[in-house]
Symmetry: C2
Subunit: 134 residues, 2 copies
DNA sequence: TTGTTCTGTAATAAAAATAATTACAGAATG
DNA sequence: CATTCTGTAATTATTTTTATTACAGAACAA
């Protein structure tokens, strides 16, 4: 199971898609039930990726930078998970063993294949679709 | 990124497929470069699932219970990951918020869709295929 | 039979990853 | 110019993952 960032990001964007106007990090954090600072961190990633815009200062907050139908889960996956889906062993495998020597490359290959399958599916799901499921 | 068990299990089975005779947990651990107890734990899972057989006692060790071409990555995925691919937030989202109330179900749905895509791809990859990549 | 070398498993400790909290400067608004 | 937001760094706490220790039991060989 991979970390909760994907769920957090989806939750944030679905909220922004649903509610009128800009939402504060505290409000969003209250819905997800996590710390507002974490929300601000994820939002800063989403902002850098162009999905949200933020208004600083009093009455500030974030809102979507594009229609929810333009935000695909495949894009979000890429924003959140820079590394592959499956972890390598954190220790270097024995390089004197033929399997140990190649397992890294093999796992990288599997990662790529798995992600391609996943992304293919996620390219056709948008935040708008998720909003409909709410 | 999800934990390293999948990589560990694949490494174990590829080794067993490659080498002659039963392999001890220490030997396997030496190739993966992890603790032998971890190897024994994973092997006990693989044994329960019917993929390996183990000989206890002196000169003991494990070997494949079936030809490598019969062991599909989709089966291994199922053996290792009982929970979904994407974590829920570990805190319960705000149930008074429409999104918070539904996000769990929505994430479950995405998990299912993602896993189906993944498993579809992994059904056609076996340990034998990985052995060829070594 | 008895010593040796394996496994199985539980219990504990260490390390790493994740999340929460605290703190504070700066932006926008009324 | 006080208030209420954001951004970000730094620290602490929690959880997850991995490693280690310990020991009983199985199989074998001398």
């Amino acid at each position: 199971m991979i970390n909760g960032r994907f769920a957090t990001v989806i939750h944030i964007l679905t909220l922004l898609a649903q509610e009128e106007g800009a939402l504060s990090s505290s409000y969003i954090a209250g819905s997800i039930n996590i710390n507002p600072v974490l929300v601000r961190k994820e939002i800063s990633v989403l902002r850098a990726a162009g999905f949200v815009v933020t208004q600083e200062g009093k009455n500030g907050g974030s809102s979507l930078a594009m229609p929810p139908s333009k935000i695909r889960l495949s894009d979000l996956y890429r924003v959140v998970y820079k590394e592959g889906l499956f972890a390598h062993s954190r220790n270097l495998p024995n390089q004197h063993c033929t399997v140990g020597k190649r397992i890294g490359v093999i796992m990288d290959g599997l990662n790529t294949e798995a992600e391609q399958a996943l992304l293919k599916r996620f390219r056709s799901i948008t935040i708008r679709d998720l909003l409909e499921r709410v």
